[in-house]
Amino acid sequence: MLTITAGCASVKEYQKNKINDAEMKLNARKVEKTELNFQSYREGASGANGGKVGAGCGCN
């Protein structure tokens, strides 16, 4: 991981107009909340995506 970090260019704040674009965020959109929920309850796998990790019922 240090190698990866060392190999990265130092991007200045004024060069981050694309990185700071809302579509570039490194997390799920808020509107994805319901689909992350139904996927975690209908599939065996969950987690590492900002959604539920097993708590909650998923009763239906």
Partner: protein, 414 residues
């Protein structure tokens, strides 16, 4: 799994050295600001599904379900004269669902088919001017057959040039499962005295007067810790690595899931009282030219119930204008089966654990759809502060036959 955990911990400490730069922040130009409402989000969704493998009826029978959800989020912000930012994030959610299979908790098919869930939460976070952040939060969730109480904390560090960050988040949930069992497992009305009876629904009748009895509740606890490392590679490309460990204990099945055995007998599903999950994921986002973005995600998942799964998704937002983007997306998912799963009427009486819940079976799923994001310069419909609509539709299908549609909308006021 222990080896993987140690590797993750090792990586965490090695990355800490990347944050050894000193901050020299000139705080003379910063002022205290009052706590103010910074952002309001309303997220609503409608979900429907149908299939023919309900666990309520032992792996056969309708999975028809409709769910409407609404979440209101209020975000408050404050800044002090040392340029520390304090955020209070309050959410309240309300869901209403109808599920056809729920009717068959009672063999007559007369149980309620609808239910509601109420789930408020509050989170507090401070982002310090030296790049550290720290947060605390709590949440509640309540529905007729399930209650959840959660606590979380987070801590992280961003490098001085804000190109590298590492964050840890810990969550604990203390849940209670209300032990509502299928009607055939509830003892028949018992005459406990000349004038006192207990019915199958748990109602005690004494001299003609009805008294509701409390249905037993069983605990389910969840503990999770996730570590996220994110890095800006260049002015068009960034990625995040996410490692999460989840441990659960308590009652991990549901009391109204039936299982039918080869000899025709019937029991309530029985699953181990502990589960360990390990999802590892990477997100890669790349801005191509001036109009196209690639949002990609891959996750590998394994647990000690025998499930291994791969998830891959790609979303490609296309910027029609600076204020409108259209993003088609596709997600592919594949998992192996848990040995605890078998379909209707195929479990052996000698099986120590048994379930016919198809989310523990082997299957693949596909999910595709489109996302529209509108962020007009002068506000949506020229309404000040109403600055974004995110509208998303997706169609989901499993090789088990389950089909679903999901539509969501996020209205943001800022």
């Amino acid at each position: 799994m222990k080896k993987i955990c140690l590797t993750v911990v090792g990586l965490y400490f090695s990355v800490l050295s990347a944050f050894s730069q000193q901050y020299n922040v000139d705080t003379s130009s910063y002022k205290n600001t009052k706590l103010k409402l910074d952002e309001v989000n309303l997220v609503s969704g409608y979900f429907n599904q149908d299939g023919n493998h309900s666990a309520v009826t032992g792996g056969i029978g309708t999975q028809q379900l409709n769910d409407v959800s609404n979440v209101l989020e209020l975000k408050f912000l404050k800044q002090n004269d040392r340029n520390n930012k304090y955020t209070w994030d309050m959410e309240v959610g309300f869901d209403h669902h109808t599920a056809a299979s729920q009717a068959y908790i009672n063999t007559s098919g007369a149980s309620h088919t609808f239910g509601n869930r109420f789930y408020p939460s509050i989170n507090w976070q401070v982002e310090k001017s030296n790049g550290f952040n720290f947060g605390l939060g709590t949440s509640l969730s309540s529905e007729v057959n399930y209650h959840s109480f959660g606590l979380n904390f987070s801590a992280g560090k961003t490098s001085k040039d804000k190109n590298t960050s590492i964050n840890f988040k810990g969550d604990v949930y203390f849940d209670k499962v209300v032990m509502i069992e299928p009607s055939e497992f509830v003892p028949k009305p018992v005459e406990t005295s000349f004038s006192t009876y207990t019915t199958a629904s748990g109602t005690v009748i004494t001299d003609g007067e009805r008294e509701r009895v409390r249905i037993p509740r069983t605990p389910r606890n969840t503990y999770s810790g996730s570590l996220t490392f994110s890095q800006i590679v260049n002015k068009n490309f960034q990625f995040a690595l996410i490692a999460e460990g989840v441990a659960q204990n308590g009652y991990l099945g549901l009391p109204f899931h039936r299982v039918y055995f080869t000899d025709g007998s019937e029991k309530i599903e029985n699953l181990p009282s502990e589960r360990l999950k390990l999802p590892l994921a990477i997100r890669l986002n790349y801005f191509l030219g001036d109009k196209i973005i690639f949002r990609s995600y891959y996750r590998y998942y394994m647990d000690d119930w025998g499930i291994k799964a791969h998830t891959a998704s790609l979303e490609i937002p296309y910027k029609v204008s600076p204020f409108l983007s259209i993003a088609p997306f596709y997600r592919y998912y594949i998992q192996t089966a848990s040995p605890y799963f078998a379909s209707y009427g195929t479990h052996q009486l000698t099986d120590p654990y048994y379930t016919s819940n198809y989310n523990l079976s082997a299957f693949t799923s596909q999910y595709f759809g489109i996302n529209f994001r509108i962020t007009p310069e002068k506000g949506v419909f020229k309404i000040p502060f109403f600055n974004m609509i995110d509208l998303r539709y997706g169609h989901y299908s499993q090789t088990t036959g389950l089909q679903a549609n999901n539509i969501g909308i996020n209205l943001r006021f800022k």
